[in-house]
Subunit: 432 residues, 2 copies
């Protein structure tokens, strides 16, 4: 049994600082549980001369080689983020036989297969629990605890920024721009929020979750992505009236036509377990053929919550080193399932139209939907402040995406329809 | 690598049948994921001659020795339930070096330490994910995924029968006896429901969860237990009015005065993640010093959900056999923390009193609380159908149990107080 496991930390940002803090704060528990002490031996930073609270007494270097070439370092923990050189550093670490722990969803989503192959080739391991859902245990539960299931569906609120914004819009009735500014002021949204509000961050997590859940490699370009920038207070108010909440979901479904994987806002029934997930909290909802519905809930980001997952991975890697074993489940993409093309996916839809306020409009619209084979579940018509105009809100039954597109083409062409104000999918669960 | 892992199943009841079914249903996935096939080789039943759907072609025996002595059997899966002879069978299996998987909360709660010691002595493993929360992953997440945390609190809805009953009482306003009969008709409650409604089943799960969360052995007699038999539709209606729901919780807290572990009904704020856990669903809420709040949600019982956890354990045991390794985290009770005596525990309380409807009653009661050092958060007084009577409902701030007892003694002695109708704890979370 080794007396001490030494780690090299790449990056001393939010998660790096949290990781050093958790290792220090809970060092007694950690040593008891692993059976050996763990210490941060070196940290890779841009400027080694800068003082960094929380890293006192730890060697700082700006050269990765100083960490890679240190024979005393057993585990390399990549928390620098971004694709490059994070990917190259991890590949080199694995090639050198070191264990790797990472929180990097970008690299795992895009190059995960290369990393797993390199780890297998060099009889070592890579752990990435923190790459999805911050501290929420989801990678290990999916790979190990739910492994007896054929998983058919995974739906997650996996982006804290957008969930905070949608929660605020719902609670206060504020518009998109107001809540974005508020989120930026509170540090929940970046100065350039594109990756969050546009859905790219959630798409990367959808790639990781779907690949694991369905045992088949999903790529970023397979994900159909829509962000929350078009959501208005009116949509949120209609949702409430109709018994729904609006959430940005990463959705993966294993269908007969292949893997259906998308990120977009949805109307979710107020009674759905995900509907109560508010603010910066995240949750991942899974349906398996044995367990039925299950959900994993917690903070999806933040220094200490993310460090909770990073340090747990470090402890498992340390335990494996001490036991001279490889306990992690490697790549599980042993199948090659097709991707379901967007046109072949099915959903219920919410449609909001601005129309002329005159008799027969509702009938014209209902006829257009009917003729395209789209069956309606409910329709509301509301007078508007704009003279001679009304709003029509329709919820459809489940329909093929291509049929819906066709119906909307006809409806856009109707003389009485002035504007298609929004189209949002409705997720009712398995029984859509 | 072994070509085939053979298991001996003890018990062919609900969970045993589910386990055989999941192993059969998902055999393709299971073989891919473990790297070897798994088959049920023998099953222990009372009457081997009885036909059992789902066990066709599997050898049946009424003698445990026929399973224990079979050198081809690698894993013994105990699903017979009850303390004896389940405990003895598991001890013998471990002593013979076999891996053991069990769903038996009774044995794990009471004799877990003996089983862990036996497993360690004979360099084998025992897995028990299914013993708490059915299929919900909670044991592995606690022992492995949250292992970087100092866990300070664990609160669970861990009994489906009582959660179904309380949900029904809340939705329909029915009384206890009516919902109990309904639960029995639907098969959610046993003919003798004592262990469920009295809180013993939840107490056993509280023992297992607290022992793991706080790294210190908790015994069944350490748990202060109260069931749901005293909950009336009136209590549930008051809860709703005050912004709460009523749930039966297993609560464990790591306090300065020791481990505080109890099972009892509580008023839970409607906004708490556990408040939305309805029907036969279970959920376990955990607070750790790194992750903050996290929650694990799913079906807490049932044939296939429980089998989901049992088969995952079987697969891990099979993988370990193939790799010739011990991957499970054994006993984690490396500390010996005292148990916090009930009098020293603190809670907020809901108190409902039947009183004389005359001026000055409210003042008399408020004075009695105040003199005992119990500070009130809110008080409601309602006229009753009974002539000259009113009901007073008070919610206290956080107070020591012994102080509350003292206050209630004084209040019971007041001439104007006719009856103490109920006292229920209020859980507001960390910030009580």
């Amino acid at each position: 049994m080794k007396k001490m496991i030494r780690i090299g930390l790449l990056g001393a940002g939010t998660v790096g600082t949290g990781t050093a803090r958790v290792l220090n704060l809970n060092q007694h528990e950690i040593a008891e549980r692993v059976g050996t002490s763990i210490e941060v031996s070196k940290v890779l930073v841009r400027n080694p001369d800068k003082e960094r609270p929380g890293f006192e007494g730890i060697a700082k270097t700006s050269r990765f080689e100083n960490i890679l070439g240190d024979p005393e370092i057993d585990i390399i923990v990549e928390l620098m983020g971004g694709l490059h050189p994070a990917k190259e550093y991890m590949l080199q670490a694995l090639a050198a036989g070191k264990r790797v722990v990472t929180a990097n969803k970008d690299v795992i989503a895009q190059f995960g297969h290369e990393l797993f192959a390199m780890a297998a080739e060099h009889e070592t391991e890579i752990f990435f629990e923190a790459s999805v859902g911050g501290g929420i245990p989801i990678i290990t539960p999916l790979k190990e605890c739910l492994t007896a299931n054929h998983i058919t569906q995974i739906m997650g609120i996996v982006n804290g920024t957008t969930n905070y914004m949608l929660t605020k819009m719902s609670e206060c009735g504020n518009d998109y721009d107001t809540v974005l500014r508020e989120a930026q002021q509170k540090g929940y949204a970046e100065a350039d929020p594109t990756a969050d509000v546009g859905g790219l961050d959630a798409a990367r997590k959808a790639v990781i979750l779907s690949s694991i859940a369905f045992n088949s490699r999903v790529q970023l370009e397979d994900v159909s992505v829509e962000g929350i920038t078009n959501i208005t207070p009116d949509d949120i108010a209609y949702a409430k009236d109709l018994g729904y909440v609006v959430k940005l979901l990463a959705v993966g479904k294993d269908t007969e036509d292949g893997i259906d994987v998308r990120v977009h806002p949805v109307f979710l029934p107020q009674s759905h377990p995900l509907a109560a997930v508010n603010g910066v909290y995240n949750a991942i909802f899974v349906h398996g053929n044995a367990i039925g519905d299950a959900m994993f809930y917690g903070q999806g980001a933040g220094s200490l919550p993310t460090a909770s997952a990073v340090v747990a991975d470090i402890m498992r890697a340390a335990h494996d080193i001490c036991q001279d074993q490889l306990s992690s489940v490697g790549c599980t993409c042993y199948e090659q399932k097709p991707i379901c093309p967007l046109e072949k996916t099915s959903s219920c839809y919410y449609v909001r139209l601005l129309v002329d306020d005159e008799p027969g409009v509702l009938a014209a619209i209902a006829t257009a939907f009917g003729e395209a084979g789209v069956s309606l579940k409910s329709v509301i018509q509301t007078r508007q402040n704009v003279v001679d105009h009304a709003e029509i809100v329709a919820i459809t039954h489940k329909v093929l995406h291509e049929k819906m597109q066709q119906a909307m083409k006809t409806i856009r062409g109707l003389k009485v329809v002035d504007e298609v104000r929004n189209i949002i999918r409705v997720e009712n669960g398995e029984d859509d």
